[in-house]
Each structure stands twice: as structure tokens, then as C-alpha cells.
């Protein structure tokens, strides 16, 4: 597999609007460091899951990749070309054709007054794709069918309110597919759906990957969902990647204490056996403010295994072998887990 996208040293900072009083006292402007130095490569054809709690910066990372938010520093290289600074150029339009996104709430993506035929057709018009009405029509119908809205003629002229929740999300997927993208950034695409419908959509996404050579960045807060769909998982905390590796290994042998805690509390539909509950690691307190990130390892304030070095030095991502790496001073190359 070759590399499709690479993020290097990506940082996104949002200034906080201070009060008049702060300005008068000449206090420095506070900055929320939503994404605080990410290095990540996405291989062609893989499903990479970006997992994190709210405020971890996972959505911001996705928005930077689809160019809805601009990065503060760092570079984005897509298919060998630097696309970090494309604002207002023709190449940006070209890039956006190749990188599409799917969001959580289909109600917000779809226009209630637009049929899904027009919704799916809009990107073609905007990008001047397709030589005529007939060709566009074939592309729209093909895209609807590919997203599982079959027969397309039955669905094409419906409005969003005439579709079920699962069908609406399929329409959104059809809209993302119509331009034949290479990378799809899916931000919590199934979180609003019931379990039974959720599975169908996950299957659809995996089928489409095979049929259309897609690569996915799958953003979710749900570790078990990531485990089901992803080849690799990246766990984020407060704007940084804490651990990265093959999905199976992240779940079965987490090397970062944060990942280990997340795995231990991940709910499962099996009633716990007697005594099993004592094995859960429930972290105390809440994720710190992203405008005041703790010094040293940013997880040290909540880490059950914290020691002196963690409070002063920030650990880099340490390669522990077999494609897995963890940002923890306890992660040494070799077998064994951080717990």
C-alpha cells in the first residue's frame, strides 16, 4: 500500500475572545489548542479510525483535511502534492473533488426543500463535471444505486422527510460518491442511527471501499465501532495522538494507559461475570481545558500510572513494534502492555 495523505506537525489554534477587562490588564490572549501537533499518514485503501472524546480535536482534524478549517501550522500532503495552502485556487476545487466528507446528522447536510436527485446532482454542476444532462443523469442515478437506494428512480425525486433515517444517510453518501472521490472523511456517520440500520451502513461503506477504491478516515467517539470497521485506530486526547496501531492490537494489547482505560470501560452486551467490574479503570475528573493543556504528558493529570518524568517531559510517539506506537514513557519496544 502506498500513502495517500500525510499530516505533518499539524496544529490548529483558536483564539478565545477575551473580555474588555482582560484587554485593559494586557493579559495575553488565550488560545484553545484544538489540534496540537499531529503526524499521521493514511494509506491508500485503508480505513483509519480517529477515536477520541469530545474536545479531543478529532473533528477539527477532519475539517482541516477537507479544508473547512485552516491549520495554524503544519502541512498536508495528498497524493504526493502539498495541499496545505490552496485557498482560492483552482487546485483547491480539484482537491475537493477528490476528498469528500460525510457528517453525523443527515438533516443538516440535506436541504429539506431539495429532492435527493438535486442534492446529489449539485456537486456535478458546481464542479462542471459531466458533458451534458444525460451524462449527469446517469452519474446521479448510478451514485444513488451504489449507495443502496434501489431502484434509484423510486427514490430520486423524494424529499428528505420522505426518507427514513438510514435512507437519508444513504442519500448523503450518494452525494459524497458522485464525484468519485479517493478519500472520504466520515465524521460519526452512523452515530444517530439505530443499531440494526447502523450495521447496514457500515457494510455499505466497506463494500464501496472495495468497489470504488476508497480510503476512509472514520472519526468516532465509539471505540467498539472503530474496532469493527477500521484497519488501524488512532486514539486522540487533547489535540494529540496518544496511540496508533492496527485495530486488533489497540484493543487487545493497548500500550497507552489512556487507551487501556478506554478499552476497559467500553461497554459490551455481555453481562459482566462476578468480579469483572473491579477490572475497569474509571478515570477521575474530566478532560482538561484545551486552553490550558497540562505541561509534560498532557494525560498525566488523570493517568493511573503517572510518575515524575510525565509531569515535565512530553513523550513522543514511541514505536513499540508491529506498526503500533504510543506516546507514553512506559511504552518500550517489545511485548507486554502499558498496564
Amino acid at each position: 500500500m502506498t500513502e495517500l495523505l500525510r499530516l505533518t506537525g499539524l496544529e490548529v489554534h483558536f483564539p478565545v475572545r477575551g473580555s474588555v477587562l482582560d484587554a485593559l490588564r494586557r493579559r495575553p490572549r488565550r488560545v484553545v489548542r484544538a489540534v496540537d501537533g499531529i503526524d499521521l499518514a493514511i494509506e491508500r485503501g485503508e480505513v483509519l479510525a480517529l477515536v477520541g472524546e469530545s474536545g479531543s480535536g478529532k473533528t477539527t482534524t477532519g475539517r482541516v483535511i477537507v479544508k473547512l478549517t485552516s491549520q495554524t501550522t503544519g502541512s498536508i500532503v495528498f497524493d504526493g502534492q502539498d495541499v496545505s495552502r490552496l485557498w482560492g485556487t483552482r487546485r483547491l476545487r480539484d482537491y475537493r473533488r477528490r476528498v469528500q466528507c460525510i457528517f453525523q446528522d443527515p438533516y443538516e447536510t440535506l436541504d429539506p426543500k431539495q429532492t435527493i436527485h438535486d442534492f446529489v446532482g449539485e456537486p456535478l454542476e458546481v464542479n462542471h463535471v459531466g458533458s451534458g444532462a444525460v451524462e449527469r443523469e446517469t452519474m446521479i442515478m448510478g451514485s444513488l444505486e451504489a449507495a443502496g437506494l434501489r431502484p434509484a428512480a423510486d427514490f430520486a425525486f423524494r424529499y428528505p422527510h420522505e426518507l427514513s433515517g438510514g435512507q437519508r444517510q444513504r442519500a448523503v453518501i450518494a452525494g459524497a460518491l458522485v464525484l468519485n472521490p479517493q478519500l472520504v472523511v466520515a465524521d460519526e456517520p452512523v452515530s444517530m442511527l439505530d443499531v440494526s440500520i447502523r450495521t447496514e451502513l457500515l457494510r455499505l461503506m466497506l463494500d464501496l471501499r472495495r468497489e470504488r477504491d476508497l480510503t476512509y478516515l472514520f472519526i468516532t467517539h465509539d471505540l467498539s465501532l472503530a474496532w469493527v470497521i477500521a484497519d488501524r485506530i488512532a486514539v486522540m486526547y487533547l489535540g494529540k495522538i496518544m496511540e496508533l496501531g492496527p485495530a486488533e492490537q489497540i484493543i487487545s494489547a493497548p500500550r497507552h494507559p489512556y487507551t487501556a482505560a478506554l478499552v476497559s470501560v467500553a461497554p459490551s452486551p455481555e453481562p459482566p461475570a462476578a468480579g469483572e467490574r473491579a477490572k475497569r479503570t474509571i478515570l477521575v475528573g474530566e478532560t482538561p481545558d484545551a486552553a490550558a493543556i497540562p505541561p509534560g504528558c498532557r494525560f498525566h493529570t488523570r493517568c493511573p500510572l503517572v510518575f515524575d518524568r510525565c509531569r515535565t517531559d512530553e513523550p513522543p510517539l514511541i514505536d513499540v513494534g508491529a506498526g503500533q506506537s504510543a506516546a507514553c514513557w512506559l511504552a518500550e519496544p517489545g511485548p507486554g502492555t502499558a498496564r
Binding site: 433515517g165 479503570t281 475528573g285
Partner: protein, 363 residues
């Protein structure tokens, strides 16, 4: 908005749960006058709640029966629109204006709440049955300090003095783990987890007999969800709460409940002890539902799908409502409503696969 960090703790051992006798003994307020002390805590029989739409009645809850004993936690699970929330809200008749209870009874300590007038029912809302709502941001008043909001039901429902109700509110907030310096906070100043804790404190304010949790952890992060579930578990053990937990998340039920009631399209599909239903589901719907759920403790396998959609409850299909989607459908399923088969291990299943009314437990 971060909280001070205490010692990062591995979960402590839990205190043993109270016995049913101890739970009734702990009541701070007398039972309602008509209560029968020997009656079970809650018994719902053949409840039917319909919603009036222009074109007819939506049979949201149709012939649902279940019971709840002291100190028990019952999980109501099912997909959106299966009637789980409507069932719970029917208990205290907190229904939208087009909702009506068309039949059945809800007996709390042997008193039928369905027969009560709206005014008489107020005595039971919050004092006997309270609700933790899903969106704490919407359920809390944004312009009133949380301590005052929690003191309000104590003052007005229980007729306590201003000072006493404020004091009790402080105790409750301490009980749910909100630090004392946050007492004067407004809802927007609290994080999602803290707001949900405040909602739990409010639900406990009048020392109710039953607490209903309507998706209490759905909007929360995994770690915060674990914290809130741990709190509920601890409160159950310390206070002997009787809990009805409404959720679409089977794993929450697996971790917190004693019994589970699986609903489909307004009817009970299967009900029984969590340990039995989850390890050996008997209704095809329960099996499918469990199979559709990712479980990181077992093998990574392809998840099940349930083709099709739930029926329109304006005109539900005759016979079993799951029949159109059921992989094991038989001719009888589309014609006859399945009777409930009761198994020796306490599970009851509404499915034609189990013909005789009483079954031996399958091996």
C-alpha cells in the same frame, strides 16, 4: 472548566445491596394513604398508550405488562419508536397532549395510577416516581442555579422550609459528586457529566420509590458514561433505588440492570433476567439485536443486520409485528398474535416458536 484531579482510582469494591425489607424501611416519607404495604412496588398490566394523529391512532404501546420489585433495576430496550419511552412516561402520564392511555393499569403499591385525575396524580410525580431526562441542558432551567432547582421540588412537593430544602439540595449534590464550590453554578457553567449528575440529584430530591432514567448517558463520552453508570450503581446499593432504565444501548443494560424488557413496535418481545436473556436470547428479534452490537470483548466478526424497517404503528400488521423482518417466520406468525411463553428460568417470550405456555429451560 476542568475539575481538580483526585487520586486516579481503580474502581473500589462495592457495598452489598440492601434487602427489599431494608429498602421500604429507609423511606423518609410515609407511603400514600391508599397504599397496600403488602402489594408489589410496581405492576403494569396490559398498558395501551395511543397517540391521536389526523389519520387515526398510533398504537405506540400496545398491551405491555411488567413488574418492578424493591431495589430492582429494569432495563427497557429497543430501537427508536418501539415505545420504550412512551411506556415509562405513561407511568406518571407525562404524555404529549395527543397521547392517551386507552387501557390497562399501572399499580404503584397497589394503587392504580391510570384511574387518578391529573390533580391527584401530582402527588405521585417526583415524590414517588421521578425521571432523569436525556438532555440535561434542556431539562435544567438555564437561568436558575442548580442548587435552587434541586431545592424546588423539596420545598413545593414536600412542603419543607427554604433553609431545609437548600440544605437537602447541598447534601444531594454532595452525594452525586458535585464539589461544594460548584453549588451556585448555573447549568451552562457545568460540563455535560456534571449536568447529568445534577439531574440525578434532582431526581433523588424527594426520595422517590422509583427513578426512571431516560437514556441518561446517551449524549456522554465513554469515560463520563462509565462515571455516571458507576454513580447510579453506587446509589442503587446505598439507597436501594428501584430503577427503570430506558436505553437503546444494550451494553448499558448488561452492565447495570437485573432484568431486561425488550420491546419491538409497541409490544414486549422478551423479558427476563439480564444474565439469561443476554446469554441465551430466545426471541429472534433479541438475537438479531444482540448480534448487531459490536462487542470488543469477543471476536471481531461481521455484525448482523435486520433487513427492513419497523412497521407503521398506525396500521400494525396482524399477528406478530416482527414477522415481516423475522428470519424464522412461519405462516401462523402473520395471522395470530403470539402468546407469551414462560420459561422456568423466569424469561417470557412472545413468539410462536415456543408453542406451549410453560417451557423447560433449554439445555
Amino acid at each position: 472548566m476542568s475539575e481538580p484531579m483526585g487520586e486516579p482510582a481503580i474502581e473500589p469494591a462495592l457495598t452489598p445491596p440492601l434487602t427489599p425489607g431494608q429498602i421500604r424501611g429507609r423511606r423518609q416519607w410515609p407511603l400514600p394513604k391508599q397504599a397496600d404495604p403488602a402489594a408489589p412496588l410496581l405492576q403494569v398490566r396490559n398498558l395501551q398508550t395511543y397517540f391521536k394523529l389526523g389519520s387515526g391512532w398510533v398504537k405506540a404501546v400496545d398491551d405491555v405488562s411488567f413488574g418492578l420489585t424493591d431495589g430492582e433495576a429494569l432495563g427497557l430496550v429497543g430501537e427508536s419508536g418501539c415505545g420504550k419511552t412512551t411506556t415509562a412516561l405513561s407511568l406518571v402520564r407525562l404524555l404529549p397532549t395527543n397521547g392517551r392511555i386507552r387501557g390497562g393499569s399501572v399499580e404503584l403499591f397497589g394503587i392504580d395510577l391510570v384511574a387518578k385525575s391529573d390533580l391527584a396524580l401530582q402527588r405521585y410525580r417526583w415524590r414517588e416516581i421521578s425521571i432523569i431526562f436525556q438532555g440535561a441542558m434542556n431539562a435544567l432551567n438555564p437561568v436558575i442555579q442548580v442548587r435552587r432547582q434541586i431545592a424546588e421540588p423539596i420545598r413545593y412537593r414536600l412542603g419543607q422550609s427554604e433553609a431545609a430544602s437548600q440544605k437537602r439540595a447541598e447534601e444531594l449534590l454532595d452525594l452525586v459528586g458535585i464539589p461544594s464550590r460548584r453549588l451556585g453554578a448555573y447549568p451552562h457553567e457545568l460540563s455535560g457529566g456534571m449536568r447529568q449528575r445534577a439531574m440525578i440529584a434532582m431526581a433523588l430530591a424527594c426520595d422517590p420509590a422509583i427513578v426512571i432514567g431516560d437514556e441518561p448517558t446517551t449524549a456522554l463520552d465513554a469515560m463520563v458514561q462509565a462515571q455516571i453508570l458507576q454513580l447510579l450503581e453506587q446509589l442503587r446499593r446505598e439507597l436501594g433505588l428501584s430503577l427503570i432504565l430506558i436505553t437503546h444501548d444494550l451494553s448499558v443494560v448488561a452492565e447495570t440492570c437485573d432484568r431486561v424488557l425488550v420491546m419491538y413496535a409497541g409490544r414486549v418481545a422478551e423479558e427476563g433476567p439480564v444474565a439469561r436473556v443476554f446469554t441465551e436470547p430466545r426471541h429472534p428479534y433479541t438475537r438479531k439485536l444482540l448480534g448487531a452490537f459490536p462487542n470488543i470483548r469477543s471476536d471481531r466478526r461481521t455484525l448482523e443486520t435486520i433487513p427492513g424497517e419497523p412497521p407503521n404503528l398506525l396500521n400494525p400488521p396482524p399477528g406478530c409485528r416482527f414477522a415481516p423482518r423475522c428470519p424464522q417466520v412461519m405462516p401462523v406468525c402473520t395471522e395470530v398474535v403470539p402468546p407469551e411463553a414462560v420459561f422456568a428460568d423466569g424469561v417470557r417470550v412472545a413468539c410462536h416458536l415456543y408453542e406451549t405456555p410453560v417451557h423447560e429451560t433449554p439445555a
